[in-house]
């Protein structure tokens, strides 16, 4: 019996997911454990440097909690979106198998990155909690919603990047340069209210900042970030997803065409 299109796509994403996880972590002892351990160790080092060595503190939120809720969402975003730029070239061999579509490679990667970083988040929040820092998940729905929107946004931007990267190969070089400054303007190392209010209208264009600050609000009673809104994040995501899917829909065939460019 033939499988439906949806079943096929599900199977493809699952296959790609396991292939990816096997390729990245299969060769090490402890295997999949590294998937979580590697980013967790990275973050622990950052926490130690900023929290315990530099003694950074905040009046209304525990610093490790503040940092975790900023840097993990950022990592999710940058890992999903930047890797999509070269997704077609990196997976060229796979498109010999007809069920595999370019969008599946992005979805599988997004799924993997999300699973890894959500696990790391839960793990490190527990570590931080046990070491005596205070936080309390006051609004679980807001937390889940803002993270989910961020993940969807990352996929949407990944789709746009994939189409761009395939149409104009040079984007693969300069896109990462544009993405780096996002680290500094997404309120990862500073809270929004530490910035003078007259600059807010510029900063608040950035949806990642909204996701970061919303997630902090959700885990810390009394941490209030005026100006951010779930509605904006939702709307921005929806719009980006629309553009991403539209571009993908019109370019999918063309991206799978092996076209040899004449060098003139």
């Amino acid at each position: 019996m033939a499988r439906s299109g949806f079943e096929v796509q599900q199977a493809v994403i699952k296959a790609l997911f396991f292939r990816e996880i096997r390729t990245r972590f299969g060769k090490y002892r402890l295997g999949y454990f590294w998937a979580v351990l590697e980013p967790a160790a990275h973050l622990l080092v950052l926490l130690t440097i900023f929290g315990f060595v530099m003694h950074r503190t905040m009046p209304d939120i525990s610093f490790p909690v503040f940092l975790l809720n900023g840097i993990i969402p950022y990592f999710i975003f940058s890992n999903i979106s930047t890797r999509s730029v070269g997704a077609i070239e990196a997976n060229q061999g796979l498109f010999n198998y007809r069920p595999v579509k370019p969008i599946d490679t992005i979805l599988a990667r997004a799924l993997l990155e999300s699973v890894i970083y959500v696990t790391v988040y839960i793990l490190l929040m527990l570590v931080v909690y046990m070491s005596g820092e205070y936080f309390e998940i006051t609004n679980l729905l807001k937390l889940v919603l803002s993270w989910s929107l961020l993940i969807i946004l990352s996929c949407a931007i990944g789709l746009i990047f994939m189409v761009l990267g395939k149409t104009i190969p040079e984007t693969q070089k300069f896109l990462p340069i544009f993405l780096k400054p996002l680290y500094f303007i997404s309120a990862i190392m500073f809270p929004l209210h530490a910035v003078p209010k007259e600059y807010w209208p510029y900063l608040l264009w950035n949806p990642i900042l909204h996701a970061v600050e919303l997630s902090r609000e959700a885990v810390m009673p009394g941490y209030i970030s005026d100006g951010v809104s779930l509605e904006y994040l939702g709307l921005f995501t929806l719009l980006t997803l629309f553009i991403g899917l539209m571009l993908y829909r019109t370019r999918e065939e063309a991206m799978l065409t092996s076209r040899l460019k004449l060098k003139t």
Binding site: K14, A15, F18, R19, R22, T23, G26, L256, T257, S258
Partner: protein, 202 residues
Amino acid sequence: MNIELPTGKNIALIGRNGAGKSTLLRIIGGIDRPDCGKVLTDKTISWPVGLSGGFQGSLTGRENVKFVSRLYAKECELTEKISFVEQFAELGKYFDMPIKSYSSGMKSRLGFGLSMAFKFDYYLVDEVTAVGDASFKYKCSKLFKSCHEDSNFLMVSHNLNSLKEYCNSALFIDRENKVTYFDSLNEALEIYKTSERLKSCL
């Protein structure tokens, strides 16, 4: 070009090097897309038989087979497919070692076994029929023939004998890149030979 291929025929694609036989084959199979135009079919079509370009070098043979099985088969058929390939390819302990440690012969054994593990209406065959040593070659051609009985082949080859063995009709791409369908393979081969002035050497 605008061509209708009749159902249930084994079709050879012939033409000189670089005429676009393999590309046409890939377009028919839905792996490559034409610049414009469409391929309409309700048949299932395989990936090129024996393809090893889709393998991930750092994964073991088993993992690669599992990956492709997940793409084409239902979850419950996974073990069956994997054990079929394992038995057919006869790689022994290498089946659980990374593909990058394989010799090219071992790689094509795995690729061939993988193709034969799945049932398609049409198999795309691009210049591969038998790989490996004598006994494996024999096993391949036996399996190939049994699969030939209930499926059809679309074949690209410069080995005219194997074309004659498996195909009965042909698509001929001539020097002007015009594609013509011939119901009889021999007729097409005659025209091909005349156009390439090969009569004297064959």
